[in-house]
């Protein structure tokens, strides 16, 4: 069983590596959105520093959402999903492997890029560990929840905007906790509470969402 998990993980990794441009797009989007804010609100360091937790989290959230739109699309079109659904292996396990692979390549890259952009927004260096940790705990939830929406909308011709409509409201707790942790760090307060909350939400998402994703895919394939 775990054999299939690692095999699928490897296969997905191989597929992602053969289309590097698609991996880069969300990262570039993330950087551009962050660059837009100083242009919109003005370059005052103090203001940008106060806003930076929110800006980074909103931009990361949108970048993850954007990268998820095509998560299952090619598998849907070339019939891979049908093969997964009729296979004797549990579909939740397969989708978990798929989302894991996706997060390892796009989510993790986003986490690693974030400190650079945060420093450009004037976030002090002492906040970087909290930033990294909060994104590390939060982005898997974004990927998993977004995959539920991607699974439900995969059969639709233009699912992109609908995906945002379905999923963004569900992202709100992650946004509040993630930017809350960074704000606490910025004010020199302990951020452990928020990080623990994010961690428990990650555990919850890893446990429950694969079943919702599998149900969504079964529905989309059976249409």
């Amino acid at each position: 069983m775990s054999n299939v998990f690692t095999l699928l993980l490897k296969r997905e990794a191989r597929l992602l590596c053969r289309r590097p441009a698609e991996l880069a797009n969300p990262l570039v989007f993330f950087a551009i959105v962050i660059a837009l804010f100083p242009l919109a609100v003005g370059p005052e360091t103090q203001l940008l520093q106060t806003l930076s937790p929110g800006l980074i989290w909103v931009a990361a959230l949108l970048a993850v959402l954007l990268s998820l739109d095509g998560l299952f699309r090619s598998d849907f079109e070339d019939g891979s999903l049908e093969q997964w659904v009729v296979s004797p292996h549990p579909l939740p396990l397969l989708v978990l492997a798929k989302v894991c692979a996706h997060w390892l390549f796009s989510g993790l890259a986003l986490v690693l890029l974030a400190p650079l952009l945060a420093l450009m927004l004037g976030l002090p260096g002492r906040c970087v560990p909290v930033l990294l940790l909060s994104l590390l705990l939060g982005t898997p939830i974004l990927s998993l929840l977004g995959a539920v929406g991607a699974a439900l909308t995969v059969g639709l011709k233009r699912g992109g905007l609908l995906l945002a409509l379905l999923i963004l409201p569900l992202y709100i707790p992650v946004l509040i906790l993630g930017s809350g942790a960074m704000q606490a760090a910025l004010q020199g307060l302990p951020a452990v509470g928020q990080l623990f909350w994010l961690g428990s939400l990650t555990a919850l998402a890893v446990t429950l969402t694969p079943f919702a994703i599998a149900a969504g895919l079964t529905i989309s394939v059976g249409e």
Partner: protein, 251 residues
């Protein structure tokens, strides 16, 4: 275990026949309760010592807010029943309840804003309760949009059920995180939870209104479900017979 009785409950024909009775009862109850509640609440209940007459909007606001939340809960339960026991009637109920829930949420938000003007001096404040309501409205929009986007009606119903369930698991998390966010950013100076100190002549009409709204919701839901059942079963002989009977009546 034998579940045939449960599946009988899901039979569209049986539902259509039995629900006409329920519909009549609920409609009468809704009209009576809302009429009495409105007249009592707006004309006879004493004004609030702090807010004056502006508090009277709770007779619309509170029932709408109650209903908005319980409607989503009902949708999630219907979704679970539909997914686990493949009961088509539950799917119908889920999809037909979503627009009603969205309207109730909208009414709750609108009356909240109207109430906010005299109370806080602004039409909109990022109060925890209003924010949660706004998010709930977005969740309803999601379910409605997904249902509209998928053309196959069985798939649409199942997809909405999954989304409603995911949303229902999320709602408590959203609620707590928004509450926490709110206390962090602007400590509430004025809370509107005065229920304990409310005089009976103030909360009795409120109770009537809440019950009336629930009955109203039930009646509208039944109406919508009956229409959808007719639409879905259009091919069957009992619907054809029912349609000709109804047309006969109109003539």
């Amino acid at each position: 275990m034998n579940w045939t009785w449960f599946h009988k409950l899901g039979s569209p024909k049986w539902f259509y026949e039995i629900s006409s009775l329920w519909l009549r009862g609920l409609s009468v109850a809704a009209i009576l309760l809302i009429l009495v509640g409105t007249v009592w609440g707006l004309a006879f209940a004493p004004p609030d010592y702090q807010q004056g007459n502006s508090f009277r909007i709770i007779y619309i606001h509170v029932p709408a807010a109650f209903l908005a939340q319980s409607c989503y809960l009902m949708m999630a339960v219907a979704g679970l029943v539909g997914l686990v026991w493949k009961m088509k009637l539950a799917d119908v109920a889920l999809q037909q309840a979503a627009p009603i829930g969205a309207w109730m949420t909208f009414i709750a938000l609108l009356t909240g804003a109207v109430w906010g003007k005299p109370t806080w001096g602004a039409w909109w404040v990022w109060d925890a309760r209003l924010t949660s309501m706004l998010i709930l409205l977005f969740l309803y929009f999601g379910v409605i949009a997904l249902g509209q986007a998928i053309t196959n009606r069985d798939s649409a119903a199942k997809a909405c059920a999954v989304l409603a369930l995911v949303g229902a698991v999320n709602i408590p998390i959203i609620k707590y995180s928004v509450d926490w966010w709110n206390t962090l950013h602007q400590p509430a100076t004025f809370t509107v939870t005065g229920k304990a100190s409310m005089a009976p002549e103030m909360w009795l009409p409120l109770l009537l209104m809440v019950l009336g709204f629930y009955c109203f919701f039930g009646a509208v839901l039944l109406l919508r479900m009956r229409l959808e059942v007719l639409r879905r079963e259009a091919r069957t002989s009992w619907v054809k017979a029912e349609m000709s009977r109804l047309l006969e009546k109109v003539r």
